[in-house]
Symmetry: C2
Subunit: 268 residues, 2 copies
């Protein structure tokens, strides 16, 4: 069996997230169904992590094991012919047989896009959170830097669900920065791993910081689990993109996953 | 009654074109319904021209006459709150009472986007025609320039419908150019006016020129109505954008309609 590393982009608007769910369209189901058709058997496609309903990916990474000997260049063509146009296989490459997209990942980067102008372009509206209200973008950007480093993110984990059983909520953030460019405010965060809803809860908190409702000291208190606090509202899924997943030694072979795409702004 | 000039952007994917059609979603119906709600009477919204089902606009221009005295800045906000996010009112401004968006227009610019790469980004797939096949982009670009000037476009009019009764099919093209930038091939044409399907029929012909199926002489023959020829296949609607409509003396007050937006490319 060959192990194939898949790099996948998707517009998450019409999917119920990455993970297979009975009777609901998900990215993983689309891929598993296509590979099952190629292999004539049930096939598991492992992702680097789940993305929630409505979250997009510029370069999600997944792994699949195939008996079929189709060359990887042809595999990309064949799979893209079968996928809906809102999901694209950007790259497929053979890797060592024990490659695991989740356990082997050393860094993930997410980007959250906020539109500060009054009017969101119809060509962008699926991919950006509209927040035209008065706030301090400088305070948002300053607060963003506080998250860099190793922290206990208990206050930023989803209240429900899968992380309840996870013992440690400590994660290392390599870089946490926001910039405003024209009317777009973009938050970008890279880290060793992320809890469910963590990026959206950080962004929700940064928006409160911009509005003056949360101070930098307040964020430091949220990052101390001894205080037992909960972070501010979860920002909407549509602004969030999984941008990049990195692996030891193999990133440079994957141009789509290492280049930084231009923000998709048309017209207004 | 005040006369208001409206500048409108739309993602045409889910609309049956500009023009009102019974029981089908169109851009004009959405606008007329909202203005009728504001005016408490039936309201006509006149466009600078129809766009076909699936065609997009970065800056369509329309005119509406209102009794309501709402300030134009508030009007934009109010209308955008009621429109679906795939249609945005970019600008609303008071103009002289006999302004007519169609008869007063002196120039219209369309852009047609073709993706030459193997994989279309999921974030672009609604807005670009995928044509990854072998052809000469240089021949496409060279042929594009032939259309500049005054020509009889009978061969490029829609076979059916509204232009059958139009006496003259002569139109003046101010500029007709194509450029390739990375994997995107973009055709841009400005002219005094356009027949139904004319831009898409020009693009269909340019694709044939790129493939070597139509020579430059062949295009000149198409532009001579004495030959009674018909142009090549109509290119798909999804790649076409109405970019700009110009009026004597008032263009410079309309930044959205005069700036050239960056092509909306994300990721691959």
């Amino acid at each position: 069996m060959r192990r194939i590393k898949l790099t996948i982009a998707y517009d998450g608007t019409e999917f119920h997230g990455w993970q297979v769910q009975p009777a609901l369209p998900t990215i993983q189901s689309c891929l598993e169904e296509i590979f099952a058709g190629i292999e004539k058997r049930p096939v598991h496609v492992a992702g680097s992590g789940r993305t929630d309903a409505g979250v997009h990916a510029l370069a999600q990474v997944a792994g699949v094991s195939l008996e079929n000997s189709i060359p990887v260049a042809n595999l990309r063509k064949a799979v893209n012919r079968l996928l809906p146009p809102s999901i694209r296989l950007l790259a497929a490459g053979e890797v060592h047989t024990d490659f695991h997209p989740r356990y082997d990942a050393i860094s993930k980067t997410y980007e959250y896009r906020i539109w500060r102008g009054e009017v969101v372009s119809p060509f962008q509206q699926r991919f950006i959170h509209h927040h035209p209200y008065v706030m301090s973008d400088a305070a948002f950007c300053e607060a963003a830097r506080i998250f860099t480093g190793e922290h206990d993110f208990s206050a930023f984990a989803a209240a429900d669900g899968r992380d309840a059983a996870v013992r440690s909520k400590v994660r290392t953030i390599f870089r946490s920065e926001a910039v405003r460019n024209g009317d777009q405010l973009t938050y970008r965060v890279s880290g060793s791993g992320f809890l469910k809803h963590m990026v959206r809860n950080i962004v929700g908190t940064l928006l409160e910081a911009g509005k003056g409702n949360v101070t930098n000291d307040g964020i430091h208190r949220l990052l101390d689990p001894a205080n037992g606090l909960r972070a501010n509202p979860t920002a909407p899924a549509k602004g969030l993109f999984l941008v990049r997943v990195e692996y030891p030694g193999i990133e440079s072979s994957d141009p789509e996953a290492t280049s930084t795409p231009a923000p998709p702004i048309v017209g207004a």
